[in-house]
């Protein structure tokens, strides 16, 4: 009985249903575009012209839509990876490092076994990459569960270690001929097929959507998923209910790391066909924004990832046509995170309006 009381109380205090979540996310988006609009005015340009150019750059033609989707694929992976850990009450700031480890592991395996037929080599490479990410994420889970070390700090530090370690490997042992620090191109069998010719979009788009849905089903429909959510909602109650906290914590971080790794794998085996030093423009950190905005809801995650991908894709046109630095989209994205991180802003503002 006690357990149920706690649950109902939580529902009463926090209007945490899907409907109001969606509205909050929308308000955050609109506020961010408005505030960024003020910045654009300050630098002496027209926000309307800028946003029109941004939209055209993101959705104006088949190739720009393909570009938008291509840029949203890694964000779907990192977004759902972070959201998954959040459901288990853990903040995985280490998706960035996990995706580097995963990407390099998959590429190295593909390069080492070039003679395997494609239909075996590609899945094996993907799995090996995921395993790399799982180990990298699992270490943070292990340290959290066994030693009580804050997972935020551990994953943050491990990001740098992963980026530097992979950088060492592609500058040294696995470096291809030439000036650029990158590996050789993977065998065709290990590369994801292109979805639209002459674009960078590959079938990883379907893989990403599939993974997002599978994660949702795993959390909602399986007993492991239930245990992870139980620990996330109230770990002491979950422990009292017989759930093994240590095991669940490690499992949560490992799976989250494995999913994050897919972001790196899809970029390496899909978009580029090789591992390139420092290839990620902080997909892992943007994934935190996607997770917070999408609330772990599959539809919300996919839409948010596409929105962020659209901003990245459209930024070049905004730069060319409206004369605004492409970095302005980072301002918008940063603002979205700040607005969504503080939902109390709206509650307090709304309460203030009701009073007056």
């Amino acid at each position: 009985m006690g357990k149920w009381n706690v649950k109902f109380k939580m529902k009463d205090n926090v209007p945490n249903n899907q409907h109001s979540d969606f509205i909050l996310s929308m308000i955050a988006m609109v506020c961010s575009f408005l505030v960024a609009g003020i910045f654009i005015l300050l630098v002496g340009q027209s926000p309307v012209a800028a946003y029109i150019a941004l939209f055209q750059g993101a959705f104006g033609s088949v190739s720009s839509i393909a570009n938008t989707l291509c840029k949203s694929v890694p964000l779907m992976f990192t977004g759902i990876a972070v959201a998954f850990a959040m459901k288990g009450g853990l903040l995985n700031v280490g998706a960035e490092g996990q995706l580097y480890i995963g990407a390099l592991a998959s590429v190295v395996l593909a390069l080492k076994l070039p003679n395997l037929p494609g239909f075996i080599l590609l899945p094996v490479s993907i799995l090996f990459g995921c395993l790399g990410g799982m180990v990298w994420g699992g270490i943070a889970g292990f340290l959290k569960a066994k030693r009580g070390v804050n997972e935020v700090i551990v994953t943050l530090m491990m990001n740098y270690i992963a980026i530097l370690f992979t950088s060492y490997l592609v500058n040294g042992p696995f470096k291809a001929e030439g000036m650029v620090p990158q590996t050789e191109v993977v065998p065709t069998g290990a590369a994801f097929p292109k979805l639209i010719p002459r674009t960078q979009l590959t079938v990883t788009l379907f893989l990403a959507i599939l993974v997002v849905i599978l994660v949702y089903l795993f959390l909602q429909k399986t007993s492991w998923g239930y245990e992870i959510r139980a620990v996330g909602e109230n770990s002491s109650a979950a422990e009292a209910g017989g759930i093994h906290i240590t095991k669940t914590t490690i499992l949560t971080m490992a799976i989250s790391g494995g999913i994050a790794a897919l972001a790196g794998i899809s970029e390496s085996l899909g978009t580029y066909g090789r591992f390139i030093d420092n290839f990620s423009p902080s997909f892992g950190f943007t994934g935190i924004a996607i997770a917070v905005l999408g609330k772990g809801n599959p539809f919300g995650t996919i839409i948010t990832a596409i929105l962020f991908g659209a901003m990245d894709a459209g930024s070049m046109r905004m730069n060319r046509v409206a004369g605004i630095s492409a970095s302005m989209v980072n301002v918008i994205q940063g603002l979205v995170i700040l607005f969504i991180a503080a939902p109390q802003i709206y509650r307090i503002l709304l309460a203030g309006r009701r009073k007056s």
């Binding site: 340290l143 950088s167 630095s325 991180a341």
Partner: protein
């Protein structure tokens, strides 16, 4: 042996000190912030904004110290906004910090584009000059510390000493430490926890901003895109490595700066560069794992 002797020169020690300055300032800022219970992962972004503010102030006035003052004002402003979000609106501190970093990177790059109409780099501006201190510079051996050094070196050392004194020898410092561990208890004896938190976060913003300005208008004479390059995260690491103590943060920053100086000086060392760069993060992880149960930092960190 030859390599060892090249490390132990005065030049190398001075280089280490110079490289440590921005990390020390930011790490002490982080120490104040975390002692009040607010985790500031946005310090990297605060430094970046400070770096740009310094250059802007120097650019528009022609006077580098105006740049420093402008950076301090802007830093206080960013600190205030961050405190507003994390303390008043109880935002998730980790998410907020990451948002601030993304915002700052985009904003500074866009501003450089708007002011100088080019990508990646600002124009050159007036730089804070080095100073020599008469008399003191004639002391044998130690004299070099006082000859043609940045005034920020002395400023930083004063800040280290003052922060330590403030945190461990004054009543306000004692209260600050109490707030980080037991905010409710502090509240119940009449301490205004919110006010302390605002002050700490604003102080952190100011120190981070000075650290950024040091990079842009003291060490250099221009702003370069993403010029903080992870020093903010290094400062967070130094704060943990130093045990949430200003003097500890100072010593940890020196260790990290020593690693940086090694990279600059010993290109022919047999250790790959990336492994030396990893040192701060690896050391911090080891400390965290090794003493996690003993030194956890402020108990109520991140819970507002």
């Amino acid at each position: 042996m030859e390599q060892l002797s090249s490390i132990l020169t005065g030049d190398f020690i001075l280089l280490t000190l110079r490289l440590a300055i921005p990390i020390i300032l930011a790490a002490i800022g982080e120490t104040f912030c975390e002692r009040s219970g607010v985790m500031n992962l946005g310090i990297e972004g605060m430094m970046l904004i400070g770096a740009l503010s310094g250059v802007l102030g120097s650019f528009f006035s022609g006077e580098p110290w105006v740049g420093v003052v402008f950076a301090i004002i802007v830093g206080a402003g960013i600190g205030f906004i961050y405190a507003l979000l994390c303390v008043r609106y109880k935002a998730d501190q980790v998410v907020c910090g990451i948002g601030l970093n993304m915002l700052s990177l985009g904003f500074t790059t866009a501003m450089v584009h708007a002011v100088w109409n080019r990508d990646g780099m600002s124009g050159t501006v007036a730089q804070v000059e080095n100073v020599s201190i008469p008399i003191l510079k004639n002391i044998p051996l130690l004299g070099r510390l006082f000859e043609k050094q940045s005034p920020f070196l002395y400023l930083t050392l004063i800040i280290v000493a003052a922060s330590w004194y403030f945190m461990y020898k004054t009543k306000i410092g004692l209260r600050l430490r109490a707030i980080g561990d037991h905010p409710q208890a502090a509240e119940s004896v009449g301490i205004n926890v919110t006010r302390y938190r605002y002050a700490s976060v604003i102080l952190c913003g100011i120190l981070a901003s000075i650290a950024g300005a040091y990079l842009s208008i003291v060490q250099n004479n221009l702003f370069v895109q993403n010029m903080v390059a992870g020093r903010g995260f290094m400062a967070i690491a130094a704060n943990i490595f130093g045990g949430w103590n200003p003097v500890g943060s100072f010593l940890a920053s020196l260790v990290f700066a020593f690693a940086q100086a090694l990279r600059l000086n010993l290109a022919d060392l047999n250790i790959p560069d990336q492994f030396i760069q990893m040192l701060p993060y690896g050391l911090t992880l080891i400390v965290l794992v090794g003493v996690a149960k003993k030194a956890k930092g402020p108990e109520a960190l991140g819970k507002i």
